[in-house]
Symmetry: C2
Subunit: 143 residues, 2 copies
Amino acid sequence: MSNPAFRPTDRSLPIALLRARETVMAPIRDMLQASGLTEQKWRVLRVLDERGAQEQTALAGAACLLLPSLTRILRVMEADGLCARVADANDGRKSIVSLTDAGRQILLDHAAESAAIFTALETQFGRAKMEKLLDLLEELNRC
Amino acid sequence: MSNPAFRPTDRSLPIALLRARETVMAPIRDMLQASGLTEQKWRVLRVLDERGAQEQTALAGAACLLLPSLTRILRVMEADGLCARVADANDGRKSIVSLTDAGRQILLDHAAESAAIFTALETQFGRAKMEKLLDLLEELNRC
DNA sequence: TATTGTTATACTCTATAACTATA
DNA sequence: TATAGTTATAGAGTATAACAATA
């Protein structure tokens, strides 16, 4: 019945990645929802925390967002006091986005729960396999 | 500068999965766009091809879509002649969705290019690593 | 009463192009 | 001319609840 030209969807990398993401995100979405954070805002916070203040093109790339989406998201996040934009002193076209204390606090507020969610999954899935999976994904992302 | 409570985003499973998906989907999106297919419609076609005619709740789960989204998507796909819905003979609440010949043809039209995209990535990434990655994702999806 | 699917609604993200300001 | 970011717009998906029909 099924078309032999295609791999089983379980062995289709795009579909397998999407299903894996749904599995992993479910508890995180529950956590974020309680704070009125979307997945996208959460990624922006995480990237800013990790990589520090940066221009929007870099931030958009790291957070897997298009620049027009980021513009809108940052407008809201700035209004909510989670981040700030300042003009780049060396290049007037750029603006540098940074976390505010409130933004950092939101991350701290979720740190314990976020770690617990990861640990639970790691325990269930197996620590060695989790490391191997992350290694492979990291390497794929460099392709 | 960065918060030690969080893993590097490269080692955050949700973010790593999303970045991997962006990497993998880019050429597929280009392919689909030429046929006016969205990623979601493509997943519906793939799942119907693989698992045969089925009710919508099952289809939505396998294609990672919510039921209201699927209702809308199927309305369009049915109007485009890609699939058909018939009432379940045994349970009047259900309708069974199936591929039409036109739907199967669309899949066939993209089979060669789809396979080539996968093969190119597999070659670049490494066949053994690709298999290992798919094994791990498949296992994670059973968590 | 529970389940299947549809409809309604509000919100959000995506994708593209056009535009402004600066380099 | 090219780049950084914004705005505009159309299209699409998400999430929830309410609803109808059926079990």
